[in-house]
């Protein structure tokens, strides 16, 4: 499976993260998104006329929507990341997969503007980002009342992976996460998962490893 990837793209990170968590190994093809704008070049437009990344290629299957890629990886290697056959759970997974598109548009747009100087109405993007974070916070509060620690179930699903990256990187776009305790707890749960990987801007949870003693540090 070949992933056309940009290391700083939260959407590409979703795919790398899902692959790491479900044990899929990806053939990474780095794309010079910035400063080279390679995703708008002829080779990549031939694969994805929309000019966006990630692009996942597996044989003659080409996927260009990150939510679809997550579902594909999970179906192949980690079915426990998909919704069960409970109607409510299946619907909640779809609900948050769709919602994740709004995170990309708002928080992702603000981040591109503030960090890589892409054009955009920054006030509107940040305002929409805050509105989306409030929705997510409310959703997580309600899930907690239902005894569920994640967006669609009491276990993480593709819905959590679809929402996590743009939320975790909201501060890159000048949107603070300080006001969302439920999001903070949820984010920590995801970052503590076995085989979790970071991307630039998401720091390692150093506390997950014991503090090395002075003797050891003289090695």
């Amino acid at each position: 499976m070949k992933l056309y990837d940009y290391i700083l793209s939260p959407s590409c990170y979703k795919v790398r993260l899902m692959a790491a968590l479900s044990g899929v190994s990806l053939d990474i093809r780095p794309v010079d998104f910035h400063p080279g704008l390679e995703h708008r070049g002829p080779e990549l437009l031939a694969l994805n006329p929309a000019g966006s990344i990630p692009i996942l290629q597996d044989g003659d299957l080409i996927l260009t929507e990150s939510s679809a890629i997550l579902v594909y990886l999970a179906a192949k290697a980690g079915p426990e990341w998909l919704a069960s056959d409970k109607p409510e759970e299946a619907a909640r997974v779809q609900q948050w997969l769709s919602f994740s598109g709004r995170l990309t548009a708002s928080l992702g747009g603000a981040r591109l503007h503030e960090m890589l100087l892409r054009p955009g109405d920054i006030d509107a993007l940040q305002r929409q980002g805050v509105a989306a974070l409030r929705e997510l916070e409310l959703g997580l509060v309600e899930q907690a009342e239902r005894g569920m620690r994640f967006l669609a179930a009491d276990r993480p699903t593709v819905a959590d992976i679809a929402c996590f990256p743009y939320v975790a990187l909201a501060p890159d776009g000048g949107v603070s996460l300080d006001a969302y305790p439920a999001i903070r707890l949820w984010s920590r749960r995801l970052r503590s998962l076995d085989r979790f990987i970071e991307m630039p801007g998401v720091h390692r949870l150093h506390e997950l490893k014991a503090e090395p003693t002075v003797e050891e540090s003289k090695v």
Binding site: P30, G36, L116, P171, G174, P200, H203, H206, K209
Partner: protein, 281 residues
């Protein structure tokens, strides 16, 4: 804050290869400027009142100044060695003082915590003694014999090595790092941080590299450096105050911070204080 001393310096304001006639509207020390190409395809920088600013093309970037530079853009002799590959890493905006961005670049003690498993990893946190001086003949800050254990020192590195660094500060918002070059042990890789001060608390950072590495694809080299810088960005945006404090009582250095101590002293000596806080508030 005093702008005068820093106004005669050169600053990076764009990637030379990416200029077009439409131009890049940006800021330099609070003044709106336009960086574009003229009818002949030459780089042109226009200041706020329509005046034409001086222009140099060096190290892949366009340089300009709001004042009257007394010197040319600082030399990097190694960058002109044949066989090097030049990497335009691309601009990244950071909400911090341009001086804080440079100081972070001079720091190695943060590697295990911020660049975990790439430039550093616990328990290898110790910073051994190194040499720091202000070289009076060239008026630059230099740190040499800086050594640190790195799990993956460069894109071309295949395992952990103890890397040796030399740091140079040839201009108030620019630094040059010379680093062990895995494919050519007798040479140094050149990694720079060129910082464009937009305001005292906002900067555009233009990392650039001149490497001996014929194998790694260009995009991988760009992504490696962007990864490192983006890990730093979230630190830089969360330091308080945003301005770099030059009041010695405001922050506590240790032996590991001698480069930063010399940098702050050098800034103060030259009155390079755009982006600095002189008195604790």
């Amino acid at each position: 804050m005093s702008m005068q001393a820093m106004i005669d310096e050169w600053y990076p304001v764009g990637i030379a290869a990416q200029l077009d006639t439409a131009g890049r509207n940006t800021l330099l020390m609070g003044e709106p400027i336009v960086v574009a190409t003229d009818a002949d395809g030459q780089a042109k920088v226009t200041g706020g009142n329509g005046r034409t600013l001086p222009v140099r093309i060096r190290y892949g970037h366009v340089w300009t100044s709001l004042g009257e530079p007394k010197k040319e853009v600082f030399p990097i002799p190694e960058a002109d060695q044949p066989g090097r590959r030049y990497v335009d890493v691309g601009v990244v905006r950071v909400r911090c003082s341009p001086l804080r961005a440079v100081e972070n670049f001079l720091d190695i003690a943060h590697f295990p915590f911020v660049h975990t498993d790439i430039l550093g990893a616990e328990p290898h946190t110790e910073v051994q003694s190194y040499k720091v001086e202000i070289r009076e003949d060239v008026d630059e800050v230099w740190a040499t014999q800086v050594k640190f254990y790195q799990p993956q020192a460069a894109k071309s590195a295949s395992g952990g090595i103890t890397t040796e660094y030399m740091y140079r500060v040839p201009a108030p918002t620019c630094s040059v790092l010379y680093k062990t070059c895995p494919p050519r042990p007798s040479e140094w890789d050149v990694i720079t941080l060129f910082v464009q001060p937009l305001t005292e608390e906002l900067c555009d950072v233009w990392p650039w590299m001149a490497l001996f590495d014929d194998d790694t694809p260009m995009t991988d080299l760009i992504h490696f450096q962007q990864t490192i810088f983006l890990q730093d960005r979230s630190i830089l945006e969360n330091q308080i105050p945003r301005l770099l404090p030059l009041d010695p009582g405001m922050e506590i250095p240790t032996r590991a911070d001698l480069t930063s101590v010399a940098y702050r002293r050098w800034l103060k000596r030259h009155n390079y204080t755009y982006g600095a806080q002189l008195v604790a508030q």
